[in-house]
C-alpha cells in the first residue's frame, strides 16, 4: 500500500491496548502470522505489517486498509504467534474502530453483510436466512451486478434448489426476549462504541 504520508498517532498503541490487551508491542516481526494466513492474496498490508504499522502509530493506513476487511477471522495468526499477540482480535478491533470513526470500508460488501446480519438478529433474536440474503444482495450492490452480468439466474436456481430441498425456513421464528436482544445490540447507526 502507498503511504498516504499521514501524521503518526503515537497514542494509537495505548488506545488499542486499552481495548485489549492484545499484546501488540511484543511483536518481533517473525512473520509467522503472515506465513500461515490464508487470505494474504487479497490483502494490501500483510498481517505482520498491520501490527508493525499499528506500533508505528500509522492509524489512518491501518484503518483504511483492505486487509482488516478481507481477514477471514480464521484465528491461525493468533494461534501461531510465538508472542501470544491476538492478531485476529486486533483485526476486529480495527474494523470496529473504522466504523466508529466513519472511515468507509474499502471492501463495502463485507461491512454490508455484517450490518445486514446484525439488523436481522435485532429483529427476531435469531437469523432468518429468508430475508438475510435478498437484503444483503440489495444493500451490497451485488443484485445490480448480478442483473447486469446475468449471474442472478445461478442464484435464483440455487435459491429454488434450497427451497425444494426444504432447506429454507419459510417464516422467521422470533424469540420472546427480543427487547433484551435490542438492548444488547444497538442499531447500526449507533454501533461502534467500544467498551
Amino acid at each position: 500500500m502507498q503511504s498516504t504520508g499521514s501524521v503518526p498517532d503515537y497514542t494509537f498503541l495505548d488506545q488499542m491496548e486499552a481495548a485489549g490487551p492484545f499484546h501488540a508491542a511484543e511483536c518481533f516481526q517473525c512473520r509467522k502470522c503472515t506465513s500461515g494466513c490464508p487470505a494474504t492474496f487479497a490483502m494490501d498490508l500483510m498481517p505482520d505489517q498491520v501490527i508493525r504499522y499499528a506500533l508505528l502509530g500509522l492509524k489512518e493506513e491501518v484503518l483504511r486498509s483492505r486487509t482488516i476487511w478481507v481477514c477471514a477471522s480464521c484465528e491461525t495468526c493468533t494461534t501461531r504467534c510465538p508472542n501470544g499477540i491476538q492478531i485476529a482480535e486486533i483485526m476486529d478491533y480495527f474494523k470496529e474502530l473504522a466504523v466508529r470513526e466513519g472511515i468507509p470500508s474499502p471492501v463495502p460488501q463485507v461491512l454490508a453483510l455484517h450490518e445486514t446480519f446484525l439488523d436481522n438478529v435485532r429483529q427476531g433474536g435469531r437469523v432468518f436466512e429468508g430475508s438475510l440474503l435478498p437484503i444483503f444482495f440489495l444493500r451490497s450492490g451485488q443484485l445490480r451486478e448480478k442483473l447486469r452480468k446475468g449471474t442472478w439466474r445461478d442464484d435464483a436456481r440455487m435459491g429454488w434448489r434450497l427451497l425444494r430441498k426444504r432447506r429454507f425456513a419459510l417464516a422467521p421464528r422470533p424469540i420472546k426476549a427480543r427487547e433484551e436482544i435490542r438492548s444488547i445490540l444497538r442499531p447500526s447507526k449507533r454501533r461502534g462504541v467500544l467498551p
Binding site: 487470505a39 494461534t79 451490497s140 424469540i175
Partner: protein
C-alpha cells in the same frame, strides 16, 4: 443421558439436514437433547467483527439461558456458535470481564463441540459396539475448519494443528480417513457471500488437495464449511477449469449410515453434490 442443546440459527434453515441427522443419531444412542430455552443468535462473525461488546453479551445470554437447565453438558453442533459461546465465557471470566453488562450465572454447563463430544474414548467404544453396517472401503478426508480448534486459549483444543476427533469417529465406523495437510485451513466462511472470488479460491484449494490425496469424499462437522464446500461446486470447477465434485458429508450422516439408520438417504437428498451414487457404488446405501 440428558444434554442441553444449542442448535444455532443455520440448523433451523439451510442446515436442516445436519439438524435432522443430529436429532436422529442422538435419539438412536439414547442421548436426550433439551434445547436452551428461548436461545438467541450467537452473533456470529458479524458481531465480533463490528461490535465486540455485543458479541460477548449475545453469546453470554445463551450461556445464562443454558444454566436454567440442570444438565452438565451443552452440545453445540455449529463450530462458530461453539467458538462464540466459549469466547464469551472466556471474556467474562477474565480480568476485563467487568466491561460487559453481563455476569455469568452459576451452573453454566460444559460447552462441547459436537465432534469432540462424539470423539471421546467412551463414546467411541459405545459407537463401535453399535455399528451395524461398517463403511468399509470408503476413503475420506476429515475437514475441521477453524472454529472448533482456534484459538486454543478459547476452544480448549489440545490438537488444534492436527485434530483427531472426526478421524477417530470415521475409523470407528469402518471407513478409511486419509491423512491430509488442510484439515484446519479456512474455507472462507462468510466471505463466500461477500467476496465469492476469495471463497472460490479458498475452497478450490481444499478440493485440489483432497483429490490429490485420493479422497472420495470430504467429511465435515460445520454447516458453514458444508455449505461452502457443497453449494458452489459448479462455479468453483468453472473457475479452476477442473472437475472436483466431491460429496461433502456431515460426520453425523456417516454415523447414521454405519448405525444402519434407514432415514439417511433423505438427509443426503438435501445436499447439492449428491453423495448417493458414491454410496451406491460402494454398496453402502441402505
Amino acid at each position: 443421558m440428558k444434554v442441553t442443546y444449542y442448535p444455532g440459527c443455520s440448523l433451523e434453515g439451510t442446515a436442516r439436514d445436519y439438524a435432522d441427522s443430529i436429532e436422529a443419531i442422538c435419539g438412536f444412542l439414547g442421548i436426550h437433547l433439551e434445547e436452551v430455552p428461548d436461545w438467541n443468535c450467537c452473533g456470529a462473525t458479524a458481531a465480533h467483527s463490528v461490535d465486540h461488546k455485543a458479541s460477548v453479551e449475545l453469546a453470554a445470554r445463551n450461556l445464562n439461558q443454558a444454566s436454567i437447565l440442570p444438565n452438565e453438558d451443552l452440545l453445540v453442533p455449529c463450530p462458530l456458535c461453539f467458538n462464540r459461546l466459549r469466547a464469551a465465557s472466556w471474556a467474562l471470566e477474565h480480568e476485563e470481564g467487568g466491561r460487559y453488562s453481563f455476569r455469568l450465572q452459576p451452573g453454566i454447563p460444559m460447552i462441547w463441540d459436537l465432534a469432540n463430544f462424539f470423539g471421546t474414548e467412551s463414546m467411541l467404544k459405545e459407537l463401535s459396539l453399535k455399528v451395524k453396517k461398517p463403511l468399509n472401503g470408503l476413503k475420506v478426508v476429515c475437514y475441521y475448519g477453524c472454529m472448533a480448534s482456534r484459538p486454543p486459549r478459547v476452544t480448549g483444543s489440545r490438537d488444534h494443528e492436527n485434530p483427531q476427533s472426526m478421524d477417530r469417529i470415521v475409523k470407528a465406523l469402518g471407513a478409511t480417513s486419509l491423512h491430509w495437510p488442510y484439515k484446519t485451513d479456512c474455507c472462507g466462511a462468510s466471505l463466500m457471500l461477500s467476496r465469492p472470488d476469495m471463497g472460490y479460491r479458498m475452497v478450490g484449494k481444499l478440493y485440489d488437495m483432497a483429490q490429490r490425496m485420493g479422497a472420495e469424499a470430504i467429511v465435515v462437522s460445520c454447516q458453514m464449511c458444508q455449505s461452502n464446500l457443497d453449494m458452489y461446486q459448479e462455479r468453483i470447477e468453472a473457475e479452476w477449469g477442473r472437475k472436483f465434485a466431491p460429496p461433502i458429508f456431515y460426520f453425523t450422516e456417516l454415523m447414521g449410515l454405519a448405525l444402519g439408520m434407514l432415514e439417511v438417504p433423505s438427509w443426503l437428498s438435501r445436499h447439492f453434490a449428491d453423495p448417493r451414487p458414491l454410496l451406491e457404488r460402494k454398496g453402502l446405501l441402505p
